[in-house]
Symmetry: C2
Subunit: 348 residues, 2 copies
DNA sequence: CGCGTCATTGAGAGCGCTCCCTTTTCGAAT
DNA sequence: ATTCGAAAAGGGAGCGCTCTCAATGACGCG
């Protein structure tokens, strides 16, 4: 372990002394320098430099009640789902945006009920300025535990009254699904099956709805439940094949599911796309491009979603602080649904 | 955005008043309750409960100089690498361990030099108690920027004097590589090739060394440089095949690389494992199990590595705080190298 | 030339908590 | 009973910073 430096870090006071000014002036300079005359600014800057002064965030937070930190809550009980790069991409987007606003990212991973209580306590404890919450399942108790903490959700939350002021960022799951299925229809496929995602998540439900929008009177036998994993895709594909040997297309709720499905198809001697066309969802590289055959899929910009979530939250925080001053002119940020695009590759 | 609660959160003072005791007593109870008589403890507990009191971390840190927070620095310039679940698993391990010690995880993602400066400043700023640093490349300037912050590295850092007190957690890359290659030799393979990882990382170098340990006088033509990605694996595999058409086995620096290599092998009509046996490294599920054929690989327990890193760091922090009192009796934690195991599947 | 006005700067009061140190309490020993 | 001493509880300083407010000085105008 690298050694611990023992000499105390310089304080505002020290900088002030060195620059021959008052604490208040140093504070002003450090926080933007408005209303301080140029020569003084320069002197203070130099003192800061020489002493290697870094503000003590704890002391600052104590008085400002801001933390310049945002919690990212990933509530994913299943370790397996962690194997998909989804979160990594979102995190990257979030991180970039937060960094640009000098905010820190506090990561809260939960699995299981006990963790929820912990996270609730943490958020309620006012340690962070806001929260970005992911992967809510329909019955998740977390939202109830979040009081008074500005929050933006990743993906449409599932509670009944879809609004309740909850702000979220999502992609157009339903529209994307429609486009995927229409594409299959356009290819002349008639027996189009769907492997759903985990139906306790709204994204899975929305994609299923999109599928049904197009296949209005689809045989229920053509719908099998998956769970967003390759394993789930395999299982569902087997069921489907057993129930409807004559299916000629599959729309899978995500790419991982599609990969699983394609494996079973190959196993059973069906050629993709000749015998069965396959469309996925997410466009998760490198899975899709390097699948065999490369996967036709619905692209959503995951990193952008993360960035947007952070941006929305930060904007909301600004509003909160300026609201009292400006009379709350700026409207509360509202949810954003990003468009999707169909990416045609070889599988359909 | 969820609404902002406006009523101020209760302070120690408020709890004290409610319980009819002094601030100091409440503080004692909140921090463990030693030296407070039972009836009082109970009264205070109840007051805390009723008021929904949560300690203000900023105020606490201000005086204790502890933050109960650890930074996790992931220095990965290449977005692509983010597509592998490696970090997600490590993070999970780290998160579990930190949670168990009531510490928070501050995630610092960097790409590019500018970010390094930012991270250096942040760490030097004493916002966290320690740091866990990943994916150091050989020329990374970050270590130089970390002064006085207890740090544990993920993977052996690459600076020349392998020690300098740096604590790290790694798996036995060299030993694992040896085992993999010996396995191939045991299979009767003679023209064994190696696709390396990104050679600016010690794990890649160590695995290459392990390869050479066994293949003492391997033809340099049988070694091609990859970068831990499927794309890199493909490229390297093509080179290898062009240079040495008679190779009968490949040891890939990681599973992703192996997947890429296998794709090229299939493309070129070589059967795995009949014509060319393939061994990977990491045992990254679900890649390995679901590869076609399922991949023989060297398993390392990634999540455990993360957990261990956190544990080492926290232990070091304890030591730091108790050192002055106990005369620094407890030894500094030292690096840990975890064993690997060969997992035999179908590819070799 | 004096006074009002505005822009700068300084002084000081806390933010909520921990921890040292003093005061009180209580039980045991004389 | 009285004293003593340890344990328990309270008082108060102060962590490093921001922010309000007062003091200072520069400057323009009557």
């Amino acid at each position: 372990m690298s050694e611990q430096s023992t000499e105390p870090r310089p304080t505002l006071e020290a900088v002030a002394a060195r620059a021959g000014v008052s604490r208040a002036t140093v504070s002003r300079v450090v926080n933007g320098g408005d209303g301080v005359r140029e020569p003084l600014v320069e002197r203070v800057r130099q003192a800061v430099e020489e002493l290697g002064y870094v503000p003590n965030q704890a002391a600052r937070s104590l008085v400002t009640r801001r933390h310049d930190a945002v919690a990212v809550v990933i509530a994913e009980p299943e370790t397996k789902v962690f194997a998909d790069p989804f979160f990594a991409l979102q995190l990257r987007g979030i991180s970039k945006e937060l960094t640009a606003h000098d905010s820190q990212l506090v990561l809260l991973l939960t699995e299981g009920r006990a963790d929820h209580a912990r996270v609730g306590r943490y958020l309620a404890g006012g340690h962070v300025d806001g929260a970005l919450v992911f992967s809510l399942h329909l019955d998740d108790p977390l939202p109830g535990l979040i009081h008074g903490v500005p929050t933006v959700y990743g993906g449409r939350p599932g509670w009944i009254d879809g609004s309740r002021g909850a702000v979220y960022v999502d992609c157009d799951n339903r529209g994307g699904a429609r486009e995927a299925v229409r594409h299959l229809v356009g290819l002349g496929r008639r027996n189009i099956a769907h492997i759903t995602g985990a139906l306790d998540q709204t994204s899975a439900v929305d994609r299923l709805d999109g599928f049904r929008d197009v296949m209005v009177d689809a045989d229920p036998k053509l719908i099998a439940e998956g769970d967003f994993t390759p394993g789930g895709g395999e299982r569902a594909m087997r069921e489907l094949l057993d129930r409807c040997p004559d299916l000629d297309a599959v729309f899978a709720a995500n790419d991982l599911t599609a990969v699983g499905a394609m494996r079973v198809l190959r196993e059973r001697g069906r050629r993709v796309p000749e015998d069965v066309a396959v469309v996925g969802f997410d466009d998760m590289l490198p899975f899709t491009e390097q699948a065999d055959p490369p996967l036709t899929t619905v692209r959503q910009d995951i990193e952008e979603m993360g960035r947007l979530m952070a941006r929305l939250l930060l904007r909301g925080l600004d509003r909160t602080s300026s609201a009292s001053a400006s009379g709350g002119l700026a409207g509360a940020p509202s949810s954003v649904v990003l468009p999707t695009t169909l990416v045609r590759r070889a599988s359909a």
